[in-house]
Amino acid sequence: MAYLELDRVAKQFGTQTVVDDFSLSVGKGEFISFLGPSGCGKTTTLQMIAGFLDPTRGAIRLEGKDLTAIHPAKRGLGIVFQSYALFPHMTAAENVAFGLEMRGVPRAERSERVRAALAMVGLAGYEDRHPRRMSGGQQQRVALARALVIKPSVLLLDEPLSNLDAKLREEMQIELRQIQRTVGTTTILVTHDQNEAMSLSDRIVVMSQGRIEQIGTPQETYEKPASAFVSQFLGKTNDFAGTIDRTVAPTQLVAGSWRAPAPAGLGGPVTVSVRPERIGFGDTGLSAKIITRIFQGNHWLFQCDSECGPAIVIRQNDGKAQPAEGDAVRLTWRPEDMSVRARAGA
C-alpha cells in the first residue's frame, strides 16, 4: 500500500494552473525526486505536501489519512529549505533542538538526540556554533539534522544542494543517500539537476509545465523517455526525423540512409531518439560529416552534420584511432538503443 499518496492534485493561482492532475504513490522508505526546469510546479507540489499551500483540487494522503486537513505544524514532516532557513540567533544545537522542544521532549533526552543527530551529519563538536559562522555545507548539514531529529514521517528537500559548489554538492549527494538509507525516511527531493535526481533517487518524477511527463526509475527515464521533453531534459539526445515505410515487407523504419525493421504499432512520420554514447561509426548508416572533435580525457565528443540534421556522438577513449574533423562517416546504432515516437504535426 502506498505510504504517501497524491491523488489528482492541482493548484491554481488565479487563472493560472501551476500544477495539474498530479498523481503519485510513494512507498515507505522510497527516495523520490521531482525533476523539472524552474516553473514546472515541482516546488509548488512540495509546498502542498508540506502544507504551506493548499491544493485547489485533489487529495494528499499519508498512511490513508487526509493530510490537507492537518495544520502544517502538526504534520510532522521534516523540511530542508533551499536557503536552509536556519535560525541565526540560535546555535547549531539549539536549531536542531527546536523541533524536539516544540514536541515537549524532556531536556536530557533532547540533548542526547541533538548530539546524535549532529554526529550523524558529521558535525560533532559544532554544537555551540552559530549558523552564520558556518560554511554553506555545514549549514546544510545542520538543516538536515534539524529536519531528521524529529523523526519525520516524510523528509522534504527543496533544492537543498543548489547553493553549494560542484565538488561539495557531489560529496553531499553521496552523504545524503547514505543517511537516507541508514534512517530509512521516505524522502522527496525537488531538483532541477538531472544528475542529482539520477544519482539519489529510487524513482524520478519528471515534470514540465505543471504536469507529470514520466514516473520511473532513473534508468527507465533515461533509457526509455516517455516524451520528447524527457529525452531532452535528461541528458543529451539526438532526435532524427524518420518514417515508417509500409510499402516493403517487412515494414521498415527509415531515417536518411539508416534503416531497420520497424517497431510494431507505429506508422507514418516518427522521431527517432538516440543517446550520443549509443551511436557508433560504421560502414553503413546515416551519412554525416564531422564538424568538430573535442577531446575530453575519458571520451571524445563529436559534433556532426548528418543528413537528418545536427548530431552529437560520444565515443569512449579506448585508445583506438578516431575520425578527424571534416571526415565523412556513417552513424549507426542498434535498434534497441533508440526510442521511436510518432511525430506530431507532420
Binding site: 505544524a73 521534516g78 523540511i79 529549505f81 532557513a85 540567533h89 523541533g99 516544540m102 552559530h130
Partner: protein, 291 residues
C-alpha cells in the same frame, strides 16, 4: 615600491578627502568648539559676555535644581516617546512587511507622512484634535461618556510624548523593517514545520531577530526626541521647558549666551555618551544577529 611612490600613496587619501574634511571642520567642528568655549565665559546683565575662563555656568547647572528638573524631564519624555514608538512601531513594521505590494507602498507612505508635513502644521493639528474642551477627540470621548473631563494636551508632557511619537514613528518602523528584510523568507515556514504555533514563531523566531532593529531605531528616536525643539516649543511653550527650548531661551530671551551654551553642551555630551554606550552594548549582545 620606491620612496616617492610610497609617499604619493600616503598623501593621496589625505588629498582626496581634504575638501570634505575642510567643510566638516568649518561647519561642524569649529562652531562646536566655539560653543564649548563659550560655556566657560562669564556673563552679566550690564557687562554682556566676557571672554574669561570660569566654571560659573557649569556650577550653576550642577547646583540649581531647576536645571536638573529640565534635564530629567527631557530624558523622561525621550524615554517614554521611545517606548511608545517601539511598542507601536515594531508590530506596525511586521504587519507592513506581511502586506501585499500595493497596500505595502500605500501604508509605507502613510507612515512616512509625518516627515512630509511641516512640524508646525503637524503639531497644531494634534492641538486641534486634543486641545482643550473644543478638541475633536476630546469632544467625541466626552460625548460618548468615556471620560468626564478632556485629556489635557497642550502644555503637558503627555501631549509632547504623543506628538513626538507620531513624528518619530517612521524612524522606528523603517529600522525594524530593515531588520525584517534580513529575515529568511522561509524562516516562519521552517519554524512551523518543526511544530511551532504562530505565537511561538513570533516570540522565539521573529522577535529575537528584530530586537537589534528595535534597539537601533530606539537610539535614533531617543536622541532625536531628547534634542527635539519645535514640537516641545509649540506644545510646551514657555510653561513646560525641555533642554532644547531652555538653551534657546537662554540664548534669545535672557541673552545669557554662555549659560545657554553650557546647557547645549551638556545635552550634546549626555546624548553622545548614551548613544555610544547603548550602541556598544547592543553590538556586543547581538553580535550573532548583526553579522
Amino acid at each position: 615600491m620606491s620612496m616617492a611612490a610610497e609617499e604619493r600613496s600616503l598623501r593621496a587619501p589625505w588629498a582626496l578627502t581634504a575638501p570634505a574634511l575642510m567643510l566638516f571642520v568649518g561647519v561642524l567642528l569649529i562652531p562646536l568648539a566655539m560653543t564649548v568655549m563659550l560655556s566657560f565665559h562669564d556673563w552679566g546683565q550690564y557687562k554682556g559676555i566676557e571672554a574669561v575662563f570660569i566654571l560659573k555656568n557649569w556650577h550653576e547647572i550642577a547646583t540649581d535644581p531647576y536645571f536638573a528638573e529640565m534635564f530629567w524631564r527631557t530624558f523622561r519624555i525621550a524615554i517614554l516617546t521611545t517606548l511608545l514608538t517601539a511598542l507601536l512601531g515594531a508590530p506596525e513594521a511586521y504587519i507592513l512587511n506581511r502586506m501585499s505590494g500595493r497596500w505595502k507602498s500605500f501604508f509605507l507612505l502613510v507612515i512616512l507622512g509625518p516627515l512630509l508635513i511641516s512640524v508646525v502644521a503637524r503639531t497644531l493639528g494634534w492641538a486641534l484634535l486634543f486641545g482643550g474642551n473644543n478638541g475633536l477627540v476630546n469632544k467625541l470621548l466626552m460625548s460618548l461618556g468615556v471620560m468626564r473631563s478632556p485629556i489635557p494636551f497642550m502644555f503637558t508632557e503627555t501631549g509632547m510624548i504623543i506628538a513626538l511619537a507620531h513624528v518619530m514613528m517612521p524612524f522606528m518602523v523603517l529600522s525594524v523593517w530593515a531588520a525584517l528584510q534580513r529575515l529568511d523568507p522561509q524562516i516562519e515556514n521552517a519554524a512551523m514545520s518543526l511544530g511551532a504555533g504562530p505565537a511561538t514563531i513570533i516570540r522565539r523566531i521573529i522577535m529575537p531577530q528584530i530586537i537589534p532593529g528595535v534597539l537601533s531605531g530606539a537610539i535614533i528616536v531617543f536622541s532625536l526626541s531628547a534634542s527635539a525643539f519645535a514640537t516641545p516649543a509649540i506644545i510646551g511653550g514657555r510653561r513646560l521647558k525641555v533642554a532644547a527650548t531652555l538653551a534657546y531661551d537662554e540664548f534669545l530671551n535672557t541673552l545669557n549666551w554662555p549659560l545657554g551654551a553650557a546647557v547645549a553642551t551638556l545635552l550634546l555630551v549626555a546624548l553622545v555618551l548614551i548613544v555610544i554606550g547603548s550602541n556598544a552594548l547592543i553590538e556586543r549582545r547581538y553580535a550573532e544577529v548583526f553579522r
